[in-house]
């Protein structure tokens, strides 16, 4: 243990702890901006400087190891002066239009400004970071350079964690900027729309492309507004509205959406179950007929674009199944209208997603019917939370309402799609029972659960030892795909989720870190345990859809509506 004092208070910390850790142990608040609990320390913003007695220069608390006998001061005149001046320099380059900024209220810069009691106009004239202020080219992400404080957190997540290399630091000195290569707009870059950069950006420089107005506008039409709600939305929405992380709010969210004006609210867990039926059938078909293996899941649109860009040679490995959102959209526009006696164009199809990449996916031509998109627009958890607030709804006090039928029933297997390993577990539950005809003794596949970057398991299914692997975060996916490419991976089935942790860690949720993710994960498996049906093939609503409309899993109708094709996008790398 190392002993030091901070502001005169003695404290002991483990070897390797930083001065920041030590201060937090004493509940002393040191402002930070470039520091992120899930990332390597960068020590570039300098807002966390502290004074170590006897040292001429100040120390960045985040990067300085606590050392025996240190006498740290976090509130000396030199520290106060320095922090406020550094903030002043940052603000002199910052748009400061908090009143209409998407991050107002959750912005770390705003918080630091408040914490430092900075209540004056900067002495320096405003000089924005870049002439091209707003990049709205992407369907998922908006980049506003005038709010960038050059902390480097986006670059870290995009390059080190996701290995997408869409955002990198360019130029030097005052002109430093974080932009896609070749000065391309984000929407034309290799960006795969995962929104992980939005999750780590401390300010409003990276935000979600906002679709809320499309909903309010739809209310002024005669259209039937139907929504599908993804598995992790019920896990994350309450948190986005200020409740404890991991608070499940399924019934309340349906109530809120109805109050806002949605006519029908359906459950994407239903098409998650449907996905398992189709994907499981596809997998067994590939195994039986010597098809391309390993088969890789296709529900994560960030992952799909990544594969299309970096691994076009492995596109045949991708399951041809549309994502649950895509399947839902197809049913809404092709099956549902006839059932209720309406035309597809009378329906406004909205999805509520934890994911920014779903906004891009919804615009894929493959996911349309007669050139009209199957999903008209996508609302993320962050946006839904904002809409609920702007509708004047007190979410906390709402009563519960069930999802609407005929797409209101989902199994626990569909629900765990929200977490890394969930699709795999759901598939294993169904494939095992369909192949062997036996009931699983233990349906919890612990080996594929949790936040380990790459998870592997082998499950005996009848006489076939099925080898599976699960990756979340594209850096991990890259490792697996490199192994597949070089023939070193003899798996049958691989699950990939673009976002670290899976959809509960998706870019469309409220701002996360790994600590919050633990609570979200717990909630997912809690829901699974709670639900009466926990296997996709036991979902009666899914089975009756096959009987009534689709026929067989993997049959002709399924292929027409529920399966898709992919595009080589490696040209984006040139």
């Amino acid at each position: 243990m190392i002993s030091l004092t901070i502001d005169g208070l003695p404290v002991q910390v483990e070897e390797g702890a930083s001065v920041l850790d030590a201060a937090r142990k004493l509940n002393i608040n040191i402002p930070t901006l470039c520091y992120h609990p899930d990332q390597d320390v960068k020590a570039n913003c300098r807002i966390c400087v502290v004074e170590n007695e006897g040292q001429r220069t100040l120390l960045p608390a985040c990067a300085s190891p606590a050392a025996e006998g240190m006498a740290i001061h976090t509130n000396s005149p030199r520290v106060r002066k320095s922090r406020r001046h550094i903030l002043e320099l940052l603000l002199a380059r910052h748009a400061q239009d908090c009143l209409h900024c998407k991050r107002s209220g959750t912005c770390e810069l705003q918080q630091v400004s408040e914490d430092l009691h900075f209540v004056k106009t900067p002495r320096y004239p405003y000089r924005p970071r870049s002439a091209e202020m707003n990049d709205e080219s992407s369907m998922s992400i908006v980049r506003n350079a005038s709010k960038c404080i050059a902390c480097g957190r986006c670059e870290y997540v995009c390059n080190e964690i996701q290995t997408v290399h869409a955002i990198s630091k360019v130029n030097r000195g005052f002109d430093v900027n974080f932009v896609p290569a070749y000065d391309r707009p984000l929407g034309e870059s290799v960006c795969i729309n995962c929104g992980q950069c939005v999750q780590v950006c401390p300010t409003g420089a990276l935000t979600i492309q906002d679709s809320c107005d499309q909903f309010w506008d739809a209310l002024e039409t005669d259209k039937l507004i139907v929504a599908q709600v993804a598995p992790s939305v019920r896990i994350n929405l309450a948190e986005a509205l200020g409740e404890e992380p991991g608070t499940v709010s399924t019934g309340r969210l349906v109530t809120a959406m109805k109050r806002m004006g949605f006519h029908l609210v359906f459950d994407t867990d239903f098409t998650a179950d449907l996905t398992i039926m189709e994907e499981g059938t596809e997998l067994l078909g590939r195994v039986k007929n010597g098809g391309v293996l390993p088969m890789v899941t296709s529900c994560s649109p960030g992952w799909i674009k990544f594969c299309e860009t970096y691994y076009p040679d492995l596109l045949p490995n991708l399951s041809s199944c549309k994502s649950p959102q895509g399947m839902f959209g197809a049913l809404i526009k092709n099956y549902y209208p006839a059932k209720i006696g309406k035309r597809p164009e009378d329906i406004c199809s909205v999805s509520i997603m934890p994911c920014t990449a779903k906004k891009f996916e919804a615009r894929r031509p493959e996911l349309s019917t007669d050139e009209a998109p199957d999903v008209d627009f996508v609302i993320t958890v962050q946006e839904l939370a904002r809409m609920i607030r702007s509708a004047g709804i007190d979410f906390k006090s709402l009563a519960e309402t069930p999802f609407d039928n005929p797409f209101g029933l989902g199994s626990g297997a569909g629900e765990i799609f929200g977490a890394t390993g969930g699709v795999m577990e759901a598939a294993l539950r169904t494939v095992y029972e369909l192949v062997t005809g036996e009931t699983l003794k233990d349906i919890n596949f612990e080996a594929v659960r949790g936040f380990e970057g790459i998870k592997e398991a082998a499950i005996q299914v009848g006489d076939l030892p099925v080898r599976v692997a699960v990756a979340h975060g594209l850096g991990n996916a890259r490792k697996l795909m490199d192994a597949v490419r070089s023939g070193k991976a003899d798996y049958h089935f691989i699950e990939v989720m673009a976002c670290p942790g899976g959809c509960i860690g998706g870019g469309g949720n409220s701002i996360k870190n790994w600590k919050l993710m633990e609570s979200r994960l717990e909630a997912v498996y809690g829901e699974d345990e709670r639900l009466p049906i926990r296997k996709s093939h036991e979902n009666p609503a899914v089975n009756s859809l096959y009987e009534e409309f689709l026929g067989e899993p993997g049959g002709h109708k399924s292929h027409e509506l529920l399966h898709t094709v992919y595009t080589d996008r490696s040209y984006l790398l040139r």
């Binding site: 400087v49 030199r78 550094i86 320099l89 000089r127 030097r172």
Partner: protein, 419 residues
């Protein structure tokens, strides 16, 4: 009249720089031989006794650096000779490297022996391409003569050197940025710790030293640490290679004992050029100090300079005659730093340009008295919070000129207010 004391420059202009025979004829590689006959601790103790401090600007004792790296257990260690010499107006490393490269190689080999390294790099300034072939040829000749390479002088000690071209940016001379640059990354300084001596190039313990520092080592081993410690002043031993430039009658590179008076050096180089009047000096390069003639009685060693609010730095002495406009000079220097800041940390990225902005305004007649307070405060914040020494030092010209040439600022502000 002041005479030079040549340790580092002893062979320059006396030998063919690439000839190993010439170098050996003047005792070259005898020091390495001697070091190899000593234990590593014995050799280190000579360096410690010499009390040699780094000549690249920071003045850190090389003996301490070597002992840190020596103590680390690692399968690979490196010695890097920092020949980035990006300081405008400084030429001394170029003179040593192009005039007597073997003295640097021999110094590197001695450092490598002590630290336990087998591989060295000379990180050569991007703008010095013509030195590249000289170094390559000298290396080749030294290898052929068995002075470098495998099993040197049959001692079992292996050491070889490669020359790498610099990244072309001033900040690449900062040791952690330099290492990143050799690794093929963006040349940006890293927070220390970890120090390169423990975790440097490719994650391995790495000793980074300036050309001039390394070129001293052979003479220290050859003549003993005590001999060296008797040159110069007690806390700052040996000589310093100074570069005289600007409006000086006889510009160029010259070597004097540490602590030699600035006034004597100035006079030994003929005073101001063309018989003009002296306005002041700029010491220590771009991030150095502007001092006025009243401050000229100044012993040039690291600590005295520091104590008098001056900087020895790389030993550059720029003479300014009375035709120079101080504010123009300072404005110019700040343009240099705007350009050279790597942009990683806030105070330097945002601060240099604001300093420039204020000085430009004052110089253009748009200044206010409060601006001087802002400059003082900004300078202090940059000095104590910047990540690397570039941002920590870039405001020195501003702050020293503000103190030592305050009238120039006040007059410019007044001029503006009258207009």
């Amino acid at each position: 009249m002041l005479e030079e004391t040549r340790i580092v420059l002893r062979n320059v202009d006396e030998i063919d720089p690439v000839s190993i025979e010439d170098y050996r004829a003047r005792g070259g590689y005898e020091a390495l031989k001697k070091a190899l006959s000593m234990t590593r601790d014995e050799a280190l103790s000579e360096i410690d006794k010499s009390a040699l401090r780094g000549r690249g600007g920071a003045g850190f004792p090389i003996g301490k650096k070597l002992s840190v790296t020596k103590a680390v257990d690692a399968d690979q260690k490196y010695i890097i000779c920092n020949a980035d010499e990006g300081e405008p107006g400084t030429n001394k490393d170029r003179v040593v490297l192009s005039g007597d490269p073997n003295s640097v190689f021999e110094g590197m080999a001695i450092a490598a022996y002590i630290a336990g390294a087998a591989k060295g790099f000379v990180y050569l300034r991007f703008e010095y391409p013509y030195i590249f072939p000289i170094l390559e040829q000298a290396l080749e000749n030294a290898r052929k003569a068995g002075c470098l390479g495998g099993n040197i002088f049959g001692s079992g000690f292996d050491f070889d050197i490669s020359v790498v071209s610099g990244g072309g940016a001033y900040v690449c001379g900062e040791e952690t940025a330099l290492i990143a640059s050799i690794e093929g990354k963006r040349g940006e300084p890293q927070f220390k710790p970890p120090y390169p001596g423990v975790k440097g190039l490719f994650g391995k313990p790495t000793v980074v030293n300036n050309v001039e520092t390394l070129a001293n080592l052979p003479q220290i081993i050859q003549n003993g640490g005590e001999w060296f410690a008797n040159i110069g002043v007690p806390n700052c031993t040996g000589t310093k290679v100074f570069t005289l430039c600007g409006n000086v009658a006889r510009p160029g590179v010259a070597e004097y004992p540490m602590g030699t008076n600035l006034k004597d050096i100035f006079e030994a180089h003929g005073g101001v050029k063309d018989g003009k009047d002296l306005q002041g000096f700029m010491l220590g390069g771009q991030s150095g100090n502007l001092i006025n003639p009243d401050q000229m009685d100044l012993p040039m060693d690291i600590d005295t300079c520091r104590a008098r609010d001056a900087i020895l730095g790389t030993g550059t002495i720029m003479v300014m005659d009375d035709y120079c406009e101080i504010l123009d000079i300072v404005e110019n220097i700040m343009s240099f730093f705007i350009h050279e800041s790597c942009g990683k940390c806030t105070p330097c990225r945002e601060g240099n340009i604001r300093m420039h902005e204020i000085i430009h305004n004052i110089n253009a007649g748009d200044g206010k008295l409060e601006d001087l307070d802002t400059l003082e405060e900004l300078a202090e914040v940059m000095q104590i919070t910047s990540l690397c020494a570039l941002g920590q030092n870039s405001s020195y010209p501003v702050i020293t000129s503000l103190h030592n040439f305050r009238d120039d600022y006040l007059k410019a502000i007044e001029r503006g207010q009258r207009a």
